[in-house]
Symmetry: C2
Subunit: 257 residues, 2 copies
């Protein structure tokens, strides 16, 4: 089993266009610090499932037939931009599972081409693709949004972005199905009052404590949060990681549990 974080950036990414803050300057100098649109890839026993498609080069990364399915969290542009080009393609259709959202993004639903949006998911609905069990988890965002709970090869991954806090039902689910790896929206530096649409670091750490996964990766990271961590390099507790693009998790190792 291999779970790869393809992108860990907030909308606008890092570096942010026209921004000269220390985090944006660093990302222009050292490519390892670039943050692309939040997205991931799960691979297991020949099955490949992508989570979100905001990467501009989504089609080059995943040639026709190379994915078994795409799980969409929601229809904001930084999560679907890579679909607009490939929809006009030829060959096998790509099953896109996501929330019910009649608006979609621009004309993506009207002119869907090779994309098959017919299999939407309701909150807590389960889907099994080969040996991977997927449960849709409602999140709290400005659009209908689903997180995904992935059970594969004895391991549990919760992918939870975009969201600010979690619905009580999702929190209860995660507390009773404790994930091994939790990938969690944390766009903003610590804030006294919760931000709109995305977690700040205080809220993300509260959720980590409350759910108690083996490991939490912070994702959907803004340049502001990167700059804050440059000034506070030791701010994270054990088990919480500021993720980066390309970060890989290989599942449970002996002694993890």
């Amino acid at each position: 089993m291999k779970f790869t974080l393809l992108g860990s950036g907030a909308v606008g990414g890092v570096p942010l266009y026209g921004c000269d803050c220390p985090a944006c300057q660093r990302a222009r100098t050292f490519k390892d610090h670039i943050r692309r649109p939040a997205s991931a890839l799960l691979e297991y026993a020949g099955t490949r499932i992508a989570l979100d498609a905001g990467l501009a080069d989504f089609g080059q990364r995943f040639p026709s037939g190379s994915l078994d399915a795409l799980l969409l969290t929601h229809y904001h542009m930084d999560h679907v931009a890579g679909l607009f080009e490939i929809r006009w393609g030829k060959g096998a259709s790509l099953a896109v599972h996501g929330p019910v959202d009649d608006k979609g993004c621009d004309d993506l639903h009207t002119h869907h081409g090779i994309l098959d949006f017919s299999s939407t998911l309701e909150p807590f609905q389960c889907l099994v693709i080969n040996d991977i069990r997927i449960t849709a988890l409602p999140l709290i965002h400005s659009r209908p949004t689903l997180g995904y709970f992935l059970e594969v090869d004895g391991a549990r991954i919760a992918y939870l972005t975009d969201t600010v806090n979690l619905p009580a039902t999702t929190l209860a689910f995660l507390q009773s199905h404790r994930p091994d790896l939790m990938v969690l929206d944390c766009s903003h530096p610590p804030s006294d009052t919760p931000r709109r649409n995305h977690n700040d670091l205080n809220l993300a750490l509260q959720l980590h404590k409350s759910i108690a996964p083996l490991e939490t990766w912070l994702t959907h990271i803004s340049h502001d949060l990167d700059a804050w961590f440059m000034a506070h390099p030791n701010a994270l507790p054990l088990g919480v990681l500021l993720a980066h693009d390309g970060q890989i998790w290989h599942g449970l190792m002996p002694g993890d549990q």
Copy 2:
């Protein structure tokens, strides 16, 4: 003066996702044959004006402050995709001139960020940016669409995509203001009946004959047209060129007129 065709591709580009036709196979093997979203750049005496912004790496190509303006032909995704990331940027705003289209593309107008869409253009309206005179020319497409007539350094360039045929008023304008370089939509191989929304080769060659520019570059080229030209390599008359990404025109040379 330097006019660069940044992209010459139809929607979906070349190679088309999942397609194994000879033109798509060739573009996968030889990068010079890749066709990106139709777009261009005009540079003169320190002024830089982009035409359309469908390139995924628009922000990387044009860092903040590097453009004096952007001329939009219309709001289809393959002409505006590159704006969704940079709108969240910081620093100088970017003036975007384009047709009146209340729908725009997804939420681009609602959340415009650093993009300034306030200066729309009516058909045949003129705009002067430094020493470049721009006239908006109505085109015929599925959305409100403008071509642009650019007068700079004694040369005349007509940029005419996306369109199928031309409105009588635009044709008359071009016949009386004969362009030196005409960049013209030609998405499809020759067809007995005109296609919807884009020119086929027959119609494009009729327009070339009727307008009589010094030179015509065909753009917005589909993989079907590329494949057709692989089978008919000598099909173009003198003065008409199948353009490629990166093609450059340096203005009139002595003896051109």
